[in-house]
Amino acid sequence: MLSILVVLVALIPLFFVAGYAFSIGWGKAVTLIWRPRVGELLRNTGLLVVGCVALTAVLGTGAAWLVERTTLPGRRLWNVLLVAPLAVPAFVNSFGWVSLTAKVEGYAGAVLIVSLSYYPLVYLPVAAILRGLDPALEETAASLGYGPLRTFARVVLPQLRPALLGGTLIVALHILAEFGALQMLRFPTFTTAIYDLYRSSFNGPAANMLAGVLLLSCMMLLTLELRLRGHHRYSRLGRGSARVIPRRRLGRTTAPCLLAVGALTALALGVPLGSLVYWLVTGSSTDFPLRDLVATTATSLGLGVAGAVLTMTLAFPIAWLCVRRRGRLTILLERSTYFGNAVPGIVVALALVTVAIRFAPAIYQTAVLLVFAYAIMFLPRAMVSIRAALDQAPPVLDDVSHALGSGPLETLRRVTLPLIAPGLGAGTALVFLAVVTELTATLLLAPIGTRTLATQFWSNSSSIAYGAAAPYAALMVILSAPVTLLLTRNRWRSMPV
């Protein structure tokens, strides 16, 4: 029952957009969707997705191969540095670039900067697969006369397919939802256009119809990925365990390879952090309004904790059902929550504003509504972590506990929870991180007087007060860093899907 309720809440944005299109009538919806501006946005968004998917695939796979399969010096350090850009929100990264040079504005700059922010999402899964590959296949290929390049293309790459598809899908979904970075880079996409329309008409029909198109694009991506993935089997057959793969000696190419990884790190991490430090030190509008900084940090922390707790609480029963009572209905329930992945924050916010005004005025303009928006958006992250943890906790222990006379509550408290605690921790951390750096839903839904690190950063940087914006950005990076470090240790298991 409870699970169904949660799923219904998670689906509010979908119902809402569909209902809205229906309520304004087909004719009006068509005139609002079928106009040149929408074509322009579609073209921009599509080109950006294609460019970034290609670039992140190359950067992520290349870096992962160097770290996992070669004798590159300092591999452990590189592994951390290559994942670290995840701790710098994309809009802080583009702030770093834009505040130094206007040359990055437009398509090329957008592809570059967004890719630099998101390539770790490809790097992480690809590195995990590369580490676990059975060398036998590659040795067979070599014995059949394939050179190293051909082996990579014909043997390794096909095995990377699920990781590459999964990783680039996340990149694509992130791009569809990305707002701050692209607004700063003056590259309009659906998400930035919806925000502009929101500023010009609150939740008017034009904004809602754009949200509908955006939602459709997200769903198309998800379907496309399912199709491409196909039904191949990738796990190893046969007995015994795979050997550790011998690393490829880089020899004389060591220096260029080091240079490449170094350059990637410098661009993805050095530029934004360097520019933050620069503005902190020299910005004319920099002052450290200590009270404001403390108050905003406290608000961000509070919302982050509230969002994480609510999201985990809502996700738990569904994940539990899905693992322990597997059936058609529970699978459907589980899949429905993943929908939140495809819903950009701005669509969720737009839907909740309108729904709350009409049907729930009591929670309109309160933190409760905002926290619910977070829960809808980040439910998938929580689900993934809880599921993975539950999968590894043998149900037989529950049975043993029951047999020894413990009631369901007692079993939950003494057996299940301790077993899955690390997974719950990772999930909470992931959701917390996402909430702290969330911008669009917060801009639209934050209660009167509430300022978060992200919104304060945004309002300062959009009025070109770079110095004043820098402290808020720095605080966001500092809050995100520990969670990102956790990711490099836990590797792929707890990645947001």
């Binding site: 409870l2 106009r35 040149p36 501006r37 322009e40 206007a102 607004q183 700063m184 003056r186 502009d196 329309l197 929101y198 500023r199 010009s200 008409s201 609150f202 939740n203 008017g204 034009a206 004319s284 509008s285 009270r291 404001d292 108050a295 905003t296 406290a298 608000t299 922390l301 509070g302 919302l303 904790v305 509230a306 707790v309 609510l310 985990m312 609480t313 809502l314 738990f316 029963p317 539990w320 059902l321 322990r324 009572r325 309108t354 005004i357 303009q365 309160t366 409760v368 926290v371 369901p408 509550l409 939950l412 209660p447 009167i448 007087g449 509430t450 300022r451 959009s462 009025s463 070109i464």
Partner: protein, 352 residues
């Protein structure tokens, strides 16, 4: 399982409530300044202000108001049309007591839905009659002039446009920067619409869509003109003065031109304030509006770094500004500026 799930959820909900309560109390950092001074004023209500003016300016005025009256004000900030449309949707249920904008078209939208209470006559008397609509639904408290900013390195004096309308001509392709997503430019368009009519405005917008480079905000336009990314731009006067006042880093290569001559490009936009009919504290709300365009509020405005024009009777603008009397703005009745129509037209042309 069902029991487990429920208990877990209940615990979670309690935790959320606690956390929400905690962050609720830590919010609104800026409005706390006047509290200690007014210990005896615990009974005074707190006003809710929907603020579309620059937040830093309004914070100064609010703080001064709170200091003298003991009435606290909390702000929700946004853009003119956004907050205006929000008020229309919220209707009688709106938590807002006062609405303050940068430009008047959003005031007209809200007034059109009958959501404003009449402004007190004494408050109206504090500014010249042209700065308020005849039906007394709201009142002006500040003004800003449209300007043409250009980089002399990229644009010769002989090539300067004689009128804002010229910018739709093909020769301006790629040479003019604007921020059409913002309320400021939309107000300028509303003036063009009021002065030139719908057909001419539509044609002008179409030409501009071809020519203009789009930026996010007027500060970004100024910065781009300064850096030579675009030869010119259409913004309000105070961005240049504000930047000059700070360091000049984003305006040192920029010259301002006032169209004057009653051209649409000399449009003087009025920032308005009004009391919502649904306000639960109408007396205090009226008091706040009276403060805004009264001597005390106008002085805070004039002394601030905002560089907008005060318009109260006898109020003196910052001497660095070109005097209000020399701007030669076109005559537009404030009540005729239509925000919603402009947004629809700009959506149709593809700016939004």
């Amino acid at each position: 399982m069902r029991i487990n799930g429920r208990v877990a959820s209940a615990a979670g909900v309690v935790a959320v409530m606690l956390a929400v309560a905690a962050c609720g109390s830590s919010s609104a950092p800026g409005t706390a300044s006047g509290t200690s001074a007014s210990a005896g004023a615990a009974a005074k209500p707190e006003l809710t202000l929907y603020n579309a003016q620059h937040e830093d300016l309004m914070q100064l005025m609010v703080d001064d108001f709170t200091k003298t009256t003991g009435i606290k004000v909390k702000m929700r900030s946004g853009e003119d049309p956004e907050l205006g449309a929000q008020l229309v949707q919220e209707g009688a249920k709106s938590p807002a007591d006062v609405f303050v904008t940068e430009n008047s078209p959003a005031m007209t939208n809200v007034a059109g839905k009958g959501l404003f209470a009449k402004v007190d006559d004494a408050t109206l008397a504090q500014v010249p009659a042209q700065f308020a609509p005849a039906d007394k639904d709201w009142v002006g408290f500040a003004a800003r002039s449209t300007v043409f900013v250009y980089n002399p390195a990229g644009l010769k004096a002989a090539d300067l446009p004689a009128s804002l309308m010229d910018l739709s001509q093909p020769k301006w392709k790629g040479k003019v920067g604007i921020s059409p997503g913002g309320a400021d430019f939309q107000a300028i368009v509303s003036a063009v619409l009021a002065l030139k009519g719908e057909a001419a405005t539509k044609a002008w917008l179409k030409g501009l869509k071809e020519n203009a480079k789009v930026y996010q905000g007027n500060s970004a336009v100024l910065k781009a003109v300064n850096a030579g990314e675009v030869a010119s731009g259409v913004i309000y006067h105070y961005y240049w003065f504000k930047d000059q006042g700070e360091s000049g880093a984003n305006s040192k290569n920029v010259t301002q031109m006032y169209f004057g001559n009653q051209d649409p490009g000399a449009f003087l936009s009025v920032s308005g304030a009004g009391v919502l009919k649904s306000s639960k504290h109408p007396a205090e709300a009226q008091q706040f509006v009276k403060y805004l365009n009264g001597p005390a509020g106008q002085k805070v405005l004039a002394d601030s770094k905002a560089m907008e024009y005060p318009i109260g009777n006898g109020a003196k603008a910052n001497p660095a500004l070109k005097p209000l009397s020399e701007l030669q703005p076109p005559t537009v009745a404030v009540a005729t500026l239509n925000g919603q129509k402009v947004v629809d037209m700009m959506t149709a042309v593809g700016f939004l």
